[in-house]
Assembly symmetry: C2
């Protein structure tokens, strides 16, 4: 039914209308949208069509649903800057400091801008044989024994995961220090840089390969991601001063709350 002056799908009118109201600020962040029933009556369309429009708004991150309270204009999330260029150097410098200083601040606190007691940190260790993918990155044969370490940092208040990483180290490189196989030593003061330092390894180069994708179902609920939020996946490869790949990490970060900052210093002319 209804006038067909418009050739586009019925719900487009509602979609455009709401989108305009939001981007123009007529509907401010935090404001509630009318209920689906009300919208259906207002635009004289069925509730299914209303839901189509709202889905489009969700997918583009403009609104979020708090069931069963209603649908609200989304407050743009604050992005935490992660600056690997400086961060990795900072970590390396800390590795040779005395324990007292290494123990001061962990990397997660430094970067998230949160205090130690606002964060829950969790580490799981497991000896594994390297999958094909990990092996090829590490430059070892598939099946070679590696130590898998899974790190999760959560906000204490909400228990939402802020960042999650899986790290792989060939066990052969680190077996001279049995402490490195014991997860209960985490959080290790001075992080991986210091752990490797105890077995005589110095990191020379780190390569971050950054990709973006939609989260898996698990990641979505773990990180409390709203619909239409992508994630960063960073593959971090650390090479030692002897040219060996010593660690591969896969880091997943919520795409709406993270910003990655890389600084490239160019060589001077002349």
């Amino acid at each position: 039914m209804t006038a067909a002056a418009d050739f586009r799908p019925v719900y487009q009118r509602e979609l455009d209308d709401l989108r305009n109201q939001i981007t123009s600020g007529q509907l401010a962040p935090g404001d509630a949208l009318p209920s689906e029933e009300e919208l259906a009556q207002h635009y004289d369309i069925s509730r299914s069509s209303v839901r189509g429009a709202i889905r489009a708004l969700r997918d583009s991150g403009l609104v979020e649903v708090h069931r069963p309270r209603g649908t609200f204009v989304r407050t743009p999330p604050i992005r935490t800057v992660r600056a690997p260029t400086e961060r990795y150097q900072w970590e390396k410098n800390r590795a040779r400091l005395p324990l007292a200083e290494r123990d001061q601040t962990g990397t997660s606190e430094r970067e998230s801008g949160l205090e130690k007691d606002e964060l829950d940190f969790h580490a799981t260790y497991e000896r594994q044989s390297a999958s094909e993918q990990v092996a090829s990155k590490l430059g070892v044969e598939p099946g070679t024994e590696v130590l898998q370490r899974i790190y999760e940092t959560r906000r204490k208040t909400t228990q939402a995961v802020i960042g999650c990483s899986r790290s792989y180290l060939p066990t052969r490189l680190i077996e001279s220090n049995p402490d490195l196989f014991d997860a209960s030593n985490e959080p290790w003061p001075g992080a991986t840089s210091h752990q490797l330092y105890t077995v005589g390894i110095e990191i020379d180069t780190i390569t971050d390969s950054v990709t973006t994708r939609m989260p898996t179902v698990d990641e979505k609920s773990l990180m409390r991601l709203v619909d239409g939020t992508p994630v960063f996946e960073i593959q971090k490869i650390s090479t030692s001063t002897t040219g060996t790949v010593v660690e591969v990490s896969i880091i997943v970060l919520p795409g709406d709350r993270a910003e990655l900052q890389y600084t490239i210093q160019l060589q001077r002319w002349e």
Copy 2:
């Protein structure tokens, strides 16, 4: 109707089933899914519910729809690696080479792995007053005159946009060379590095701030993105050897076909 042995939504059974078939390889990339009607009969649910499941599969990038041919298992797209760490240095080095050498290969070809004649390159220039956002990045007063340059690189065959960037230069810095205001000189051999070289500017540091988000409606159709594909947005800030910000660029890349690779060289111990 139907047995309620399962507490989850009706379409979950179909969703899990199809997801397994795809990840296990039972349904290979390129294979067609059964039609919505067939699926509805097979799982004994309504077509709307089938569509819910298919939408979830699309959103997680597992299938794509070629209307009205059918729904197909998606072939994982090939990611083109973009390595700014080397790329920016390469561009800078080229700036002082003779014209003949600068003219050889452009940056877009080098990085996309495609030949010059497979790409369509388009540039638009416009003098503007700086928006608040651009001005704050450039470190100038809002309203200061800037040159906006919009670059679009398309695949010649499909006309799909491979990358799009908007660059802003304060006109004051470059007014000594009128050629720099003429878009018909694009593609300029040696790119921005050489353009700035002609007005005596040497770039010292470049900072890339990488974020990820869902594309706007326009970006989605321009880049021919399938549903559930995020984009990278890179804010590139170039600083000259005198410490002045000379260029701000905003680069948007398709998230399913791009990979960003940054290399961090650490200082040696001792």
